[in-house]
Symmetry: none
Subunit: 227 residues, 4 copies
DNA sequence: CATTAATCGAGACGGTACGTCTAGTCTTCAG
DNA sequence: CTGAAGACTAGACGTACCGTCTCGATTAATG
């Protein structure tokens, strides 16, 4: 498990774990790590049962066996809490084993991302916090750091793998390459989200292959042996 | 203005204006059409200022100079009201003038859709109601009818135009064709939404052309027989 | 029942009952008189069971079968609510039937006042609101109007009766008379309160006669026939 | 300073200073006497600023520069803390110098007690703890020992002095004498409290003389044999 | 002098009540 | 019957204190 950002909450100040050697929080009773775990777990469970809009922090606290204050000490509100609760799931995203071709790799990423989006807690909450971030800059950067960047990494790794295989030409203009990677990311993630949330249809392997083919073709990736 | 669906709200039964000949509501004071307009306008204004989650119906009623009762007589709740307020904007979507090629047509649709999504009230509210619809079937149909189908029409019209131009082969398998149209729709709409809401970057013509090129290439639309 | 001040609450504005003929509250649903009664009754019941410091407005609302908002619409807080709840009891104070002598009349007043103070809701709450009024001018005037003046009236009536009987000389200096009435009032009320709350002993007729004798002697009241 | 009772607080068991010879607390760091003083002082200061109901122990601790733990180690709660904070002030009560007559002595006591009650911390807190004691027997005894008995002593001393002067007949029936002393105590203390808290008027020497005259007359203290 | 054990500051913890806000309904009067 | 006004029930909100607890760091008196 690689995340180290979240759960530091409202007032991480000096002394959060990723601040080693610093004059960490010396004094007072330390925060309970068990409470952190219980709260994030309870949040996901409540999302599954109630959905985003019926989720209340009082209920989360009760499920976690924790006082409301304990919750508010760590997160400023529902939005931030849910972002961190989701982030723990996105931690597990990894580039699937090499599928042998760009098509196959993309399809693998699509399926993995879709599997995440089909979890009811993600389905109900992911876009909800994105919507909230519309009017909240801090929340937006929190989402970017905790969730978006984690996904984007897969796109970059996949591109690198395809270049190694010779399916994609080496980057000539780095800015252009970044632009293209961003586009791919928006296409893959956006399409999966739209399919799942707006069109309300499941992502099956056939659909994933269609999308992957479309993207790969759009990238002008010839078959690997074309070199 | 072409819509005729909405604004019938809670109690559409007999008596909606477009229900001629029926034993329409005979008696009592008729509902004020001015109130309808004021409410939908106030809803959009409030969305711009407050965003989705801070929007309250009491506030909308106050802005519209209308009693809460009047509002609840027409719409069952915040979700439905906002869908109708957005729908008025989506009414204006039309397939842009023929750009001469599939690429150009797609880019035109992308830009038009992006222009809508960059309006703050749409940005904040569109996905919000979609999220709410996750647990609400009626709302989902309402959104589909008032918003989604209106967009999808553009995709179908664009495909038809491309086939007339000879860029796309005529449909062989109608089911396959529908599946492809759905994919295109998810790709275009999903990517634009993701770019706008998650990546938080504006859609400029260059980006629109990139996306259009990717989609067109993915469709296997060569410059076609035009070569 | 003579009171007409209370229960108008926070925002009596124009239109409270005692503002007849004025452009009274014309519009909107009128406040429920039943709720008023239920709340004040529930307040007294809760005081009896819980005492002042454990009394919570949420509990009062629940007992009254009323929402908390209904309660806060009428009273700004616990202090004011309790003052009005007590005031209804003090409404019933009246000068006892003529006892034939100043002594007897004073003893009657003492007993009547003591009977009120021995009710558990009064015992626990009366001085509590007085204490709160230490830092709250508005509360102080509310107490004065709703409770204190109602008691003081008895002193004035008793003095008048004694003068009619010839036990007390007619007032020569009105200012001096007022000062004396105030002193009597502080002595009678203060002593009974102190006996009841601080010394924690019941007021029996014998004690009442002792106090009455002391006060009457201090007033220099000869027996009535002394004229 | 004569008090030696308080400050033993929660855990007086073995080890309070006045528990000599016992197997007193032998080991460990002794409690800071400075903290005791700081806490009681901070309590009075906070009472002056905030009044009884807004006084919080967290605030007292902060003012005293002390942790909440330190405070709770010594006193079980707000009530007991405030009683001890007030008690330090009542320690200073003494029977004023002989005024030459019962009247004058009573007036002196009245003025002295009134001076105490006009201190804002006493005004707001004295009756507050009495009210709390309504439902708390332990607190009632604590108040009686720390405050009430200290005042009552003055009444007894004053009566003794008056008897020595010949203004009062020697006690015939001790029970009757006790009853009379209690009455006097309730009259003097109760009246002063009522004047100060309920009527909200200052006690000036003229008023004190009026009250003293009334009480002395009621006691049947003629100028006695002095005539 | 080292040990020992209670104290200290700091602050997290589970609770409870607060007073406010919003949702959606109901009740009154005016047109 | 509509519409404005506003009271109504219900319940979540985020905050404030309570009194307890867990830390690491001081201190005296004891050994």
């Amino acid at each position: 498990m690689s995340r180290s950002t979240s759960a530091a909450g409202t007032d991480p100040g000096p002394g959060t774990p990723q601040d080693p050697g610093a004059a960490a929080r010396r004094t007072g009773r330390p925060r309970s790590a068990a409470a952190d775990r219980a709260i994030l777990g309870a949040t996901r469970a409540a999302l599954v049962e109630l959905g985003w809009s019926r989720l209340t922090l009082g209920d989360v606290a009760a499920r976690a066996g924790v006082a409301k204050t304990t919750l508010y000490r760590r997160w400023p509100g529902k939005n931030e809490l849910v972002v961190d609760a989701l982030a723990e799931l996105f931690d597990e995203l990894e580039l699937p084993a090499d599928g042998g071709s760009l098509d196959a790799d993309i399809a693998g990423v699509v399926l993995q991302f879709a599997a995440l989006l089909e979890r009811p807690e993600v389905r109900t909450a992911l876009m909800a916090v994105v919507v909230e971030a519309t009017h909240d800059d801090e929340l937006r950067t929190r989402i970017r750091r905790a969730i978006v960047d984690r996904q984007k990494r897969l796109v970059l790794q996949g591109r690198a793998r395809a270049r190694r295989r010779g399916e994609l030409a080496p980057d000539e203009d780095p800015a252009e390459a970044a632009r293209q990677a961003d586009l791919i990311f928006d296409v893959v993630a956006g399409t999966v989200v739209h399919r799942t949330l707006v069109s309300c249809e499941d992502v099956d392997p056939a659909w994933a292959r269609s999308l992957a083919a479309l993207v790969a073709a759009g990238l002008g990736a010839g078959p690997a042996d074309r070199t």
